[in-house]
């Protein structure tokens, strides 16, 4: 899959840092301001999808898709681990950490950690789904078959 023009590549290079920082801020302050893990994760995934669209590169998708799958599973496992860790207090999904001062960054018990796990999970999922759909493009190959994920690796 070919990349885009020089203007798009340059602007992507400038804007990428802002997008990632904004996404991370939405995730980290998810228990204080609107947003949270889901929206923040999708914003971070959008940054990476923008990078892949601008720079293209058919042959380099193999590692990106393995890293994204791993992060996806790690995010879900972390969320499950936090839920099961509530069992130490006696109940599944118990919020077992201290509550902290209201409106502080370190408050809300287990909620900021769950936000991070959800952001990892959702961001990796959205990025992986976009990558997989970008590898399968509707115009057909030479022998008439639709291309698949294997062609991108």
């Amino acid at each position: 899959m070919e990349g885009m023009s020089v203007i798009v590549k340059t602007v992507t290079r400038w804007v990428m840092g802002f997008v990632l920082v904004y996404g991370l801020a939405t995730v980290l302050y998810g228990h204080l301001t609107p947003g949270g893990g889901f929206a923040g994760g999708v914003i971070i995934a959008c940054g990476f999808v923008l990078w892949v669209l601008a720079y293209g590169g058919r042959g380099r998708h193999g590692t990106a898709h393995k890293v994204a799958s791993t992060l996806d599973v790690v995010g879900l496992a972390a969320f499950l681990a936090l839920a099961l860790a509530g069992l130490t207090g006696g109940v599944f999904f118990l919020n077992f950490l201290g509550r902290g001062k209201a409106f502080a960054l370190a408050s809300g018990g287990v909620i900021p950690l769950m936000n991070l796990a959800i952001a990892l999970k959702v961001g990796a999922s959205v990025f992986l789904a976009s990558l997989v759909l970008m590898a399968l493009r509707l115009p057909e190959d030479e022998d008439g078959e639709l291309s698949t994920l294997e062609d991108a690796e």
Partner: protein, 190 residues
């Protein structure tokens, strides 16, 4: 029929813009015009949610409909498909019109009943011990999170969030499995 807190004129302008953009997206033959119109629909809906007092939903709406949808369409369709072609279907169109008019008449009948609560007015605060009132009054003290939506999603109803994360995971796994199967079939046939 409408609660006095709702900015009615702005809401009607936004709804009109969303419906007009939807019609443009459906009737246009050029795919780029369609995609941009869908972006306008998402933007209009997001501003609607924001002025109705739901900033979390507004953020998710912008991110998912405007950004992800446009990126996915551009990424999957590529540059080769420019126009949409197809024949007119008069029976399907007539049926759709009749169904839509019936639905609108039904909705109007229900909305104009005197017992229906006003639009924009919360319904579940008539009783003091409903769960929603408990979440709003005790949320900050019990969970420590200032954002009530985050407190409900990740603390009070965390199990539903686990289910939703599982659904997303299954969707991605299913997509990847379906695409691999086609490669195996190609190898087996050749």
């Amino acid at each position: 029929m409408f609660s006095p807190d709702v900015p009615l004129a702005l809401l009607f302008i936004l709804v009109f813009m969303v419906v007009a953009a939807d019609l443009v997206a459906l009737k246009s033959k050029d795919l780029l015009v369609s995609v941009i119109s869908y972006g306008t629909v998402g933007f209009g809906l997001s501003v609607t949610f924001m002025i109705l007092g739901a900033p979390d939903v507004a953020i998710v709406q912008i991110v998912v409909e405007v950004i992800i949808l446009v990126l996915l369409i551009r990424a999957t369709l590529g540059r080769d498909r420019k126009v949409v072609s197809g024949e007119h279907e008069p029976f399907a169109a007539a049926f759709a019109w009749v169904a839509m008019l019936l639905l609108m008449a039904m909705v109007l009948r229900i909305v104009l009943l005197p017992e229906t609560p006003a639009f924009g007015q919360p319904v579940m605060d008539r009783l003091a011990d409903t769960p929603s009132q408990h979440y709003l009054s005790e949320g900050l003290k019990e969970t420590g999170a200032a954002n009530a939506v985050a407190a409900v999603l990740l603390d009070y109803r965390g199990y539903d969030t686990l289910g939703e994360a599982t659904v997303l995971f299954t969707a991605v796994v299913g997509t990847m499995v379906l695409l691999r199967r086609r490669a195996k079939k190609k190898e087996a046939g050749s």
